[in-house]
Symmetry: C2
Subunit: 149 residues, 2 copies
DNA sequence: TAGAAACGTCAACATGGCTGACGCAGTTAT
DNA sequence: ATAACTGCGTCAGCCATGTTGACGTTTCTA
């Protein structure tokens, strides 16, 4: 593949991702939260409820970094932790009603941009876009969202 | 658009972008540099030579943040600054031979992943992917890489 | 019942952002 | 010519998000 073609993708990913996250960042800033909080909210909501160790693996950060984020989210009454009944050492995280509402509003802040971009790409483009992004991902992460390795 | 469809894109962007940047991050770490240095190298190389104020606008960071990055790149002999002959206040940045070599090796670290992902998406997918990513971008940034607003 | 596992927590540090304030060289307007 | 503005570097201090390493507690498991 030519360097030129690689650059075309690289810069579009850079600017595209920046704009995409920017939509949520504005909402987050008004609540005194950051992108790290959004990611936690997103994956807790996605799973319904999730063990701490799994969220840790998904986010790919250390437990110290996650603990700080979770403490702030729990202080803000957006996330709750309870014990795993099957193994009392494990914590299970869920969103509160307020947390779910915030997560949705963050998603909706990004939805318009996504919708527009998919529409521009045309009805047949959607599958190609999914395939492309899935192929960029690490196999480990593909498995995490329920795709074949 | 359904929340479900929006989430499908959101998480693929998150994991895909993370894997994509991870390729370069590994090379950068071995040189004691970070992602911020890569972005500067990329856009200087892309332009051939670029005024400081334009790089500033492209990266969307403050001059203080950029100055630190540029100082490190110049100390490492990867970037050179000279005066704009037309306006002595302005600085113009170019890469050294070494800088160009590093930038290329960073691009190549990402190229295989991009190539594979484009191949997976099929020959007709490429246009859709470009269109999609361009539509995600801020109009301002589209203009910056030579696209119509 | 000893050891391992799953946390939470404290401390220190790196990176890459930010704001504000100041200085200086060079350019432009009066 | 001189005053004002511009572009840019720099100092200082702060914030968000990540890192390592060490330690303690609770809970399971061999």
């Amino acid at each position: 593949m030519s360097d030129f073609a690689a650059r075309a993708i690289a810069e579009r990913l850079f600017f595209g991702y920046r704009a995409f996250t920017g939509d949520a960042d504005r909402v987050l800033a008004s609540r005194g939260l950051g992108r790290a909080h959004h990611r936690a909210l997103y994956f807790i909501e996605r799973a319904g409820s999730i063990p701490v160790h799994e969220l840790l693996a998904t986010l790919g950060i250390t437990k110290q970094a996650l603990t700080r984020v979770l403490r702030e989210l729990m202080d803000a009454q957006l996330v709750e932790r309870r014990q795993d009944p099957a193994d009392g050492r494990r914590g299970i995280l869920t969103l509160t009603e307020t947390g779910r509402a915030l997560e949705l509003s963050l998603l909706h802040a990004q939805r318009a941009r996504i919708e527009l971009a998919l529409a521009q790409a045309g009805p047949n483009g959607r599958e190609a876009i999914h395939t492309f992004l899935e192929a960029l991902m690490e196999p480990e992460d593909r498995a995490r969202i329920g795709l074949a390795l």
